[in-house]
């Protein structure tokens, strides 16, 4: 069986531009809504751009140089017709822009939410391969980039393309020869677009790397504020931040260079085209092919051609940045959620004590050596198990396999005889709860944090659960009671208090299998003993697995499992293991007793 753990996050970098857009539209189907009508509107809106040049041409040819001299009535009538046409095309432009905003905002909100959800569906180890800040930026600023591009860039691109098309068509109608001249003058620009795109794509990938580096450098003094202060490493930290900020500035400036050069090429092409049209136009005039009005109208048409062409090339280069962001968002969705949830097809665990089986389980963290080897284990339903062993021996890894935060590299973990991979996640999470060592709390009240364990719990039930756990006295001592705010990550509470809340939350969830991974390591002995007695009572008739360094837990368990260097070396009741002279457990117990005797 292949390892399910720890695919790293897909950067999306290998997806091409067109493929990115196709995948993007696939994830945000709203983008396609009514796209046909939007394009029709865009076409009508672009026609608005040629109204003025046509009016100019007709004024010169008929209004000014008409057979009977200047003709005011004609010019006014034509002006009114043109103004009406302008009103129609402007309205079309309004409709098109609103539609674009609506569909792209809808589509991107969907994409954002899907990506967010997918991050939570990814295996723990995959989540850990990417910095939190970078994950956040993938669902926030990266999506904003795409949205900016779609509504402004995308819009302008559609309109510009439409204008270039319309301008070309009108030019061809007036004089195909002059149209050809204009296109020839712009050919170098069109041919160089690909080159600049490649350059910019590279430049922006450097920029994005630097953004990531800069953000993580900036987060250092924020998340590590206490360490930075107590070790007075402000200067070093600032130097690192300054370096990252400068690198970002340098790489952005160098990306800017390419944009600027490609943009100024457009201006030169326009000058060439203007000159070319006049000269060729005059020659053609001699041949009697065209009129003065046509030549002059061309001057206007060229300016209508230049604007959108410059816009378009600009957008194509800006697009490199947006597409890169889009890739990063799609990259999340393309990262397989390795721990496949069988969903509704999966088995459901009944609400009663579960038994646990490890069958030949081997586990290695990605790229590392196996940290668990050939673990065979059976835990009967309703028993209390203590897991002990040196730090780093693999105890937490067992806990994570048991709760299916990871899947084994080899072998299988079974609950009630069913492979955990075949159990519906929803049922699994209902029945099995893990309390890790560092209790994470959300920036909210204690009540809200505890309720996270069971969403429909009333305040009374929450307080009752605290009393059950023996936390009543502590709770009474809190000035705000269960309304006390815990601060971000729970950091307005003492480390021990954070663990109490995490345990309380798990207790409220009413699991059939409770896994405690050093869940009370920061709590004082008197309170810890009170809790562990309460838990013994509360867990009666359920299965519990407790990892702890304080061997009182082992003394009180039905059975002790001793882990050493990734293997189970001993198992049995405390009294028996403690007698096995020279064993790992006897050693641990001796140290423990020696500590207590002091």
């Amino acid at each position: 069986m292949s390892t399910a753990a720890g695919t790293s996050m897909d950067t999306g970098e290998e997806i091409g531009a067109i493929a990115t857009i196709r995948r993007g539209v696939h994830f945000s189907p709203e983008l396609k809504d009514g796209i046909g009508w939007t394009l029709v509107l865009a076409l009508i809106a672009s026609i608005g751009q040629v109204i003025v040049p046509v009016a100019v041409q007709r004024t010169i040819d008929h209004g000014l140089n008409g057979p009977d001299g200047p003709d005011v009535a004609f010019t006014v009538e034509m002006g009114i017709a043109a103004a009406l046409a302008l009103a129609v095309t402007s309205f079309a432009s309004y409709l098109m822009t609103s539609r674009l905003f609506t569909t792209s905002e809808r589509g991107l909100a969907t994409l954002r939410i899907k990506a967010f959800r997918h991050v939570h569906d990814l295996p723990l180890l995959t989540q850990n391969t990417e910095r939190r800040g970078a994950l956040v930026s993938r669902v926030t600023s990266d999506v904003d980039q795409v949205s900016q591009f779609l509504v402004y860039g995308g819009l302008l691109f559609v309109v510009s393309t439409g204008q270039v098309l319309v301008a070309t068509i009108v030019m061809v109608i007036y004089s195909w020869q002059l149209a050809l001249v204009v296109w020839v003058c712009f050919a170098p620009l069109f041919l160089s677009i690909r080159y600049f795109q490649r350059k910019l794509s590279d430049a922006y990938s450097v920029v994005r790397r630097q953004v990531g580096a800069m953000l993580s450098a900036i987060s250092e003094p924020v998340v590590g504020a206490a360490v930075v202060r107590s070790y007075a490493v402000e200067d070093r930290t600032q130097a690192r931040i300054d370096h990252a900020i400068d690198e970002y500035k340098t790489s952005s400036t160098s990306a800017q260079r390419f944009t600027v050069i490609s943009f100024s090429l457009g201006g030169v092409s326009a000058g060439l085209a203007n000159a070319g049209v006049l000269i060729v136009g005059v020659w053609l005039g001699f041949a009697g092919d065209i009129t003065a009005g046509t030549v002059l109208a061309f001057a206007f048409l060229v300016s209508l051609f230049v604007g959108p062409v410059q816009m378009g090339t600009q957008i194509l280069t800006d697009a490199q940045n947006a597409i890169a962001s889009w890739r990063r968002v799609i990259g999340i969705l393309d990262t397989p959620a390795d721990l496949v949830d069988p969903g509704p097809d999966g088995a459901t665990l009944p609400h009663e004590p579960v038994d646990v089986t490890f069958r030949d389980v081997t586990f290695a963290y990605p790229g590392g050596p196996p940290v668990l080897r050939d673990i065979d284990l059976e835990i009967a339903a309703g028993t209390r198990i203590a897991v002990v062993g040196e730090t780093g021996s693999g105890k937490s890894t067992i806990a994570k396999l048991l709760t299916r935060l990871m899947d084994p590299t080899e072998g299988a973990v079974l609950l009630d005889g069913i492979d955990v991979r075949d159990i519906a996640q929803a049922s699994m999470r209902r029945s099995v709860v893990l309390v890790p060592q560092e209790g994470f709390l959300f920036d909210d009240s204690i009540a809200a944090n505890v309720r996270y364990g069971r969403l429909d719990a009333t305040d009374e039930e929450i307080v009752a659960a605290a009393d059950d756990l023996g936390l009543g006295d502590w709770l009474a001592g809190l000035p705000g009671g269960i309304a006390t705010q815990v601060g971000q990550r729970g950091e307005s509470m003492s480390a021990g208090e954070r663990q109490l809340v995490a345990l309380w939350r798990a207790q409220l969830a009413d699991p059939d299998l409770l896994v405690l991974d050093e869940a009370t390591s920061a709590v004082d002995p008197a309170l810890e003993m009170r809790i562990s007695r309460a838990l013994e009572r509360l867990m009666r008739g359920r299965t519990s697995v407790t990892i702890a360094h304080r061997l009182t837990t082992a003394e009180g368990a039905d059975e002790v499992i001793v882990v050493d260097k990734g293997r189970i070396v001993q198992r049995g009741p405390h009294a028996v293991l403690a007698q096995q002279e020279g064993s790992v457990y006897a050693g641990l117990y001796a140290s423990w007793v020696a500590q207590q005797a002091s």
């Binding site: 001299g69 939410i113 939570h120 206490a226 001699f286 364990g453």
Partner: protein, 600 residues
């Protein structure tokens, strides 16, 4: 009305800051932009000139002066090339100015992050501080990009207006009606979109806070199966942002075509008036073409003024958010006393110390004790009795409300900046590791040899597993040290303190995740260490406590008792209850399992 004017003038004020900071680049790019604007107008002039002197004569007279044709060609091309130079100066200048301002501001903001006290940090969520340094800075300097272009446009408009007047006064006046119309349209746009932009910027920050916290707590979300609830929480904010953006979009959708249509309408009117005047002999066809063309070419750049003003609301919001960080006060005051450097342990005196988080409730009150050089004191107290807070006071992460802490007789507040850390190391209860190598996490940039690093790791019992890591000292540890077990993280953070050979070492329950055997070895190493550090340990385990020469028992924020472990055990029932709890299991047979009782 007042509000809108507020935003516009505040927006200009923000730009003023940038211009004062980077006058040179701003001038350069503005010159580039003016050059560009002037040459764009020159284009119209060249066209008008070519119409009158080349095109129309050629068609009327049927003859052509090829030297004139070449002049036209040269003129067009020369103007275009110069204009390209203008573009490069304008855009590159704007870019450089924008990136420089971002960099200045980011440096200033992060300097604040480093110098503001811990209390300030605890009041500000991580997600918010990150967005202050990132997206708020970006928003604040957003208008720099269109700024030179807008300034250039103004110059271009002035030139265009002069040219129009030179061509024909009446047509010029008619054409100029376009400008006030554009201004009015802009005012309307500002008024309706500015509140929406502000709202959107707030929602973006909120969204990133929700995402940050949710991903931070991913493990809890997963273990309790709360993915759907979290997604709902995120979706709620995402949908609000979407709705605000859609509303802003509809306003934009109305504004853009209006702005584009106004100059076109102007051209149509100019044509009608122009023909009338040509008929009356007041002007000639070339002038009609010139004025019409001038209006067409300013039509597009006029929008850049709109873009500039359109950026203002976001910019002002971002700038204010950044400024609230830059103006935050409460920086710690330092004296200028040096800390005594010697091999001997430091003398610590805590005198009448009081501290409170909540103004109503004293956490610590009148805490007094001393630790003689080279001695060891254990701080013992129930969960949440204020032990960690006391260690934070010793590291001067916070300052006391009353009383003082003396190090070798000097108040910590009189020590010069950075001095305290030279002699005192505090190992926090929760180990924090940086996303960096093992070596950097231990040294934190201090100039120590690898031998010293290994020695410190050995004393912290971390040498074994570090040696087994794939790249040894150079192994990257991942965010918050994610690839290590809890006990391993604690030992690295212990080594970080030991490598400094501090004269005062403060350990806040720093071995809680370490198994008894390893802990015993760490304590052994600390005891037998060659360095005579003074040691303050927060501990629950008797083995650690018994290492101490004296125990300070904290209860309800006060020192309940002081003395040796044995003395306190003998005379204080509360103390005995606290530290002997593990031994009392045997006394409660009713709750022990059957096997246990047999074993006793």
């Amino acid at each position: 009305m007042a509000k809108r004017r507020g935003t516009t003038s505040a927006g200009f004020a923000v730009l003023g800051v940038a211009i004062r900071r980077e006058p040179l680049i701003f001038t350069l790019s503005t010159i580039g932009s003016v050059l560009f604007g002037a040459l764009t107008v020159a284009d119209a002039w060249v066209l008008g000139w070519a119409t009158d002197h080349v095109v129309l004569p050629a068609f009327e007279n049927g003859e052509i002066d090829s030297s004139l044709l070449w002049a036209v060609f040269a003129l067009f091309l020369g103007v275009a090339l110069l204009r390209a130079v203008g573009i490069v100066a304008r855009r590159l200048g704007a870019g450089v100015m924008q990136y420089r301002m971002q960099a200045h501001t980011r440096r200033a903001v992060t300097r604040q992050y480093l110098s503001l006290p811990m209390e300030w940090h605890q009041r500000h969520p991580t997600g918010q501080l990150l967005s202050n340094a990132n997206s708020d800075v970006e928003a604040a300097w957003g208008p720099i990009a269109p700024l030179p272009m807008a300034v250039g446009t103004v110059a271009m408009m002035v030139i265009a207006i002069v040219q129009m007047f030179l061509a024909d006064v009446v047509m010029a006046v008619v054409g100029l009606l376009v400008f006030p119309a554009v201004v009015v349209a802009n005012l309307f746009y500002q008024r309706y979109s500015s509140p929406l932009m502000t709202k959107a910027q707030q929602l973006r920050a909120e969204l990133s806070e929700v995402a940050h916290e949710s991903f931070d707590g991913a493990m809890v979300v997963k273990t309790l199966g709360r993915e759907s609830e979290e997604t709902e929480r995120f979706a709620e904010t995402a949908h609000r942002l979407r709705d605000v953006n859609m509303r802003a979009g509809r306003i934009r959708a109305a504004f853009d075509p209006t702005l584009a249509a106004l100059p076109s309408l102007g051209v149509l009117v100019v044509l009608a008036v122009g023909v009338e005047r040509v008929l009356g002999g007041a002007t000639d066809a070339g002038d009609v073409v010139t004025v019409a063309y001038l209006l067409t070419i300013v039509a597009f750049p006029i929008r850049s003024i709109g873009w500039l003003l359109g950026e203002f609301p976001r910019s002002v919001v971002g700038f204010n958010r950044v400024r609230s960080v830059l103006r935050a006060t409460g920086e710690m005051q330092y004296g200028d006393a040096p800390a005594v450097r010697s091999q001997a342990g430091a003398r610590l005196a805590v005198e009448g110390l009081a501290y409170r988080y909540d103004p109503e409730q004293h956490l610590l009150e009148d805490v007094t004790f001393t630790v003689e050089p080279g001695r060891t004191v254990a701080l013992v107290g129930a969960t949440a009795s204020g032990k960690s807070t006391l260690t934070n006071l010793m590291a001067r992460l916070v300052d006391p409300a009353e009383g003082r802490i003396l190090l070798d007789g000097t108040d910590l507040r009189d020590l010069a900046r950075g001095e305290l850390a030279q002699v005192v190391s505090v190992v926090a209860q929760t180990a924090f590791l940086f996303d960096d190598t093992v070596r950097d996490n231990v040294t934190l940039g201090a100039d120590v040899s690898d031998e010293e690093v290994w020695a410190a790791l050995r004393a912290a019992q971390a040498d074994g597993f570090v040696a087994a890591l794939p790249h040894g000292l150079d192994t990257q540890l991942g965010e918050r040290g994610a690839s290590l077990s809890g006990g391993q993280r604690q030992r690295i953070s212990l080594a970080r303190a030991l490598v400094r050979k501090p004269r005062l070492l403060v350990l806040d329950d720093a071995t809680s995740a370490v198994d008894p055997e390893v802990e015993a070895r760490i304590l052994e190493a600390l005891r037998s260490g060659s360095h005579d550090s003074t040691l303050v340990v927060v501990a629950y385990r008797k083995a650690t406590i018994s290492l101490a020469d004296e125990v300070v028992h904290l209860e309800d924020g006060r020192v309940a008792d002081r003395g040796t472990h044995a003395e306190l055990l003998a005379r204080s029932p509360a103390y005995a209850h606290l530290v002997n709890a593990y031994e009392m299991r045997a006394d409660v047979p009713a709750e022990s399992s059957a096997e246990m009782q047999e074993a006793e």
